[in-house]
Symmetry: C2
């Protein structure tokens, strides 16, 4: 527990207006967007404006042994921003400036609180393009995207957040303010600390500034909707598209339940009798897009698509994407509890995996809705349950465990986008050998010996305690 | 020193034929391709065929405290494979199998000793493409590419080696055999150990297997040669090309000295009166390549190119690339000692940086030859000296230090491809703050507390000793 003296020190670092600590004020910061997790209110919430304030806070946390939990917009889906060991939530909300837009070098320097969608809009005005597009881009922040290594539909062509990062300024867990990476497209000067920090979910430091790479905006885009009567045909068409030499900027999949859900809640004219649809986007120069769209149509027809429709205008394309984006909220409407997993599997296993998912859901008598970024094998599998029935929730959780076993058995990963947070801690051992987890724990302990940064996330406390006990033989 | 008993144990692990330890046999393994470094013969050289042998060796090294120095083809340029602290050189030469080519998932599983060029040839037969193309690709191995995070001309479009890696099997420094990553295009399940291992120059483990991503082979390529009368025009044309919405698969730069060097030693018809040339390659579908090549020609003419020539055949394109590849050996012919640096800088700084390089070389009265992958800002700067003159060598080294200071002052990195090895140890502190280097050291010590893996590389021994002394407060 933070005592009055500590709170006073924190307030001195942050300034009067930049700290909250009344129960009413801090309550909201006990949640993120993960369904069905109880709130765990922090002892204080701070809103630093400068890296030096973050540094002072983390130094104080080391002296007085309290947890620091970084928070972007709170859109995380695995409980990563919940202060489960108390302490201080560090909101990046007041560090929301685009510091430098360097059009000559295709780079932008941002503070962590910049909203992803705002960044995209800003750079688009210069004919540039920041590709990473998590579904929450209208509200989520670059800092959160970095912490979680966020993906999105366009990751299939442009990579995830990690691939966009050139350099970081970070406050490390012991309070060192450091820069890592360079203002260049590549560097091999020492260990790749940037890649380690990105995706570490706030457990290895607080990112206070990021230099991101930009691309020239594609001159042209085309969006296509393919309707299938069989799920396996849709799934198999994904790999075939790549084989045809087309690398789309998005390949999204929605199953029958998704289509119905959208049409019931926010009608978009999707065929409710279809087994599945694919939405494919290709981008690039005009001749490239024209040729790619033709090849996609041809492949999809060959693979048995019942219909192939090319959006004839920006508005038509936007309607398709709006339908896709409305899906997550629409699914939430039909079930009070949505256990939302985000497995990722090799492309060729998709048809079998989707089949097996429906079979395991049926065995557990649990409703299951599947959609996702199938172009990179990333399936969002939603098990729907009534939270008032403990027994039903238990069956849904059992289904999730079976899903992870299935995923790992085909060489996949239990999370492609959402991270581990707290909700996937129990499943990590299904994917990683004890020795690999021990190596991760050794890195965490080396950088954060006191366990200050976002404790209880990514790696189980028991694992860290064990690794601490065995310690390196220095 | 390894005693007889230890050597016997090593021989038992490897098998009789797979260990060398006579002075004549091991002498060669004291060198890599770095100019002017003395040989440091290892005490033994081993040629394991299986990961389990690597594991047993590393376990023994931990028990008996000897160094293990992994070695690919020995083409490294910063002394990374030299066993400067003695011990055993672990050659991956006998682990040279392509284990699985998975065309459905655009993946290949390889052992570390597979030659990069051989892999490219093999996957090309299936219409697939492994983009990373270090200049030594005819002999260098994937294991070495992974250890150094190798680049090459195509990195500007396709990224460096790290971007091609999906999963690794690694023997960690304490002898744990682990898998990391997944057979998928993305994963956020725990810390990114894959990115940490790639580029760690053999100091954090031995990579015994890698799963690499492949791409559909581009249907078409076009290679263009642009001749400039002014270096600054050529340098400025690079950023302009991207601004025109073209992202070439290579943009190579050669200065006047390079051109003369090639024409003297392996004539390729380059104009010896030019100040600089750019070789640009664009790839993709036919319509895309046609349109991109047209835009490149237009930009280059606008930027003042004296002539723009499009290769009219595969043979003509190959002649240009052969000239580019012959450059390094040709430069070596004109000077007994070539200090070969590989800085990387932001694109917009290229014209000024190239100017400043020639100025600093002139101040030191040292011949200087510049070429490189300017599309990603990567300049190979060669200072030429007569090794029989200590004083001239000292001036060349002084020029190198000034070069690094210049590089860091514009936000660049002292090495874009070659790594730190031993030759850049003294300059690391110019780029990285002590706290960042201490973080790297903490990671090294956490994973390799006994300093078994390739000691003396990437991080200075003194730094590790200091960090070991301060150790984390477990």
């Amino acid at each position: 527990m933070l005592d009055k003296a500590s709170l006073k020190k924190i307030r001195r670092i942050m300034g009067k207006e930049a700290m909250l600590n009344t129960p009413a004020d801090v309550a909201l910061y006990g949640y993120d967007a993960t369904p069905a997790l109880d709130g765990v209110a922090p002892e204080a919430v701070v809103f630093p404006q400068r890296a030096e304030q973050v540094q002072s806070l983390v130094q104080l946390a080391n002296q007085e042994n309290f947890a620091v939990v970084p928070r972007g917009a709170g859109t995380g889906l695995t409980g990563g921003a919940r202060p489960i060991h108390g302490g201080v939530v560090l909101s990046t909300q007041a560090m929301n400036q685009i510091l430098r837009l360097d059009t000559d070098n295709f780079q932008v320097v941002v503070q962590p609180g910049v909203v992803t969608g705002d960044l995209q809009t800003r750079v688009a005005r210069e004919g540039l393009f920041y590709p990473t597009d998590p579904q929450s881009l209208a509200v989520c922040t670059i800092g959160g995207n970095l912490a979680e290594n966020a993906g999105g539909p366009r990751a299939v062509k442009y990579g995830v957040t990690r691939q966009q990062v050139l350099a970081l300024q970070v406050v490390l867990p012991q309070g060192q303010l450091v820069r890592m990476g360079a203002r260049t497209l590549k560097t091999v000067s020492g260990y790749d600390l940037v890649s380690l920090l990105v995706g570490s979910e706030g457990t290895l430091g607080v990112i206070t500034e990021a230099t991101l790479r930009l691309l020239p905006a594609p001159a042209c885009r085309s969006t296509l909707l393919m309707v299938f009567d069989r799920v396996d045909q849709a799934a198999a068409a994904v790999a075939k598209t790549f084989r045809a030499g087309v690398w789309p900027s998005a390949i999204e999949f929605m199953d029958r339940h998704c289509i119905r859900c959208i049409e019931e809640h926010e009608p978009a004219g999707l065929p409710i009798d279809a087994a599945a649809v694919l939405i494919v986007e290709v981008d690039g120069s005009r001749p490239e897009v024209t040729s790619a769209a033709e090849r996609v149509q041809q492949v999809m027809s060959e693979m048995g698509a019942r219909s192939v429709q090319v959006a004839q205008s920006e508005a038509e394309a936007e309607q398709l994407w709006r339908a896709r984006r409305s899906l997550s909220p629409a699914v939430a409407k039909i079930a009070p509890l949505k256990i939302n997993e985000d497995i990722v599997v090799p492309l060729s296993t998709l048809p079998g995996v989707i089949d097996a998912i429906h079979a395991l859901a049926a065995r557990q008598k649990i409703k299951c809705v599947c959609f996702g970024h199938v172009g990179d094998g990333n399936l969002h599998v939603n098990f729907l349950a009534d939270p008032s029935s403990q027994e039903e929730v238990a069956r849904a959780e059992h289904a999730a465990r079976e899903l992870f076993a299935l995923t790992v058995s085909v060489g996949g990963s239990i999370t492609g986008e959402h991270g581990v947070g707290t909700t996937k801690l129990a499943y990590l051992g299904m994917e990683h050998a004890p020795e690999a987890l021990a190596a991760m724990a050794a890195i965490k302990l080396a950088l954060d010996p006191r366990g200050i940064m976002n404790p209880g996330k990514v790696l189980p406390d028991e694992l860290l305690a064990k690794e601490r006990g065995s310690g390196p033989a220095h």
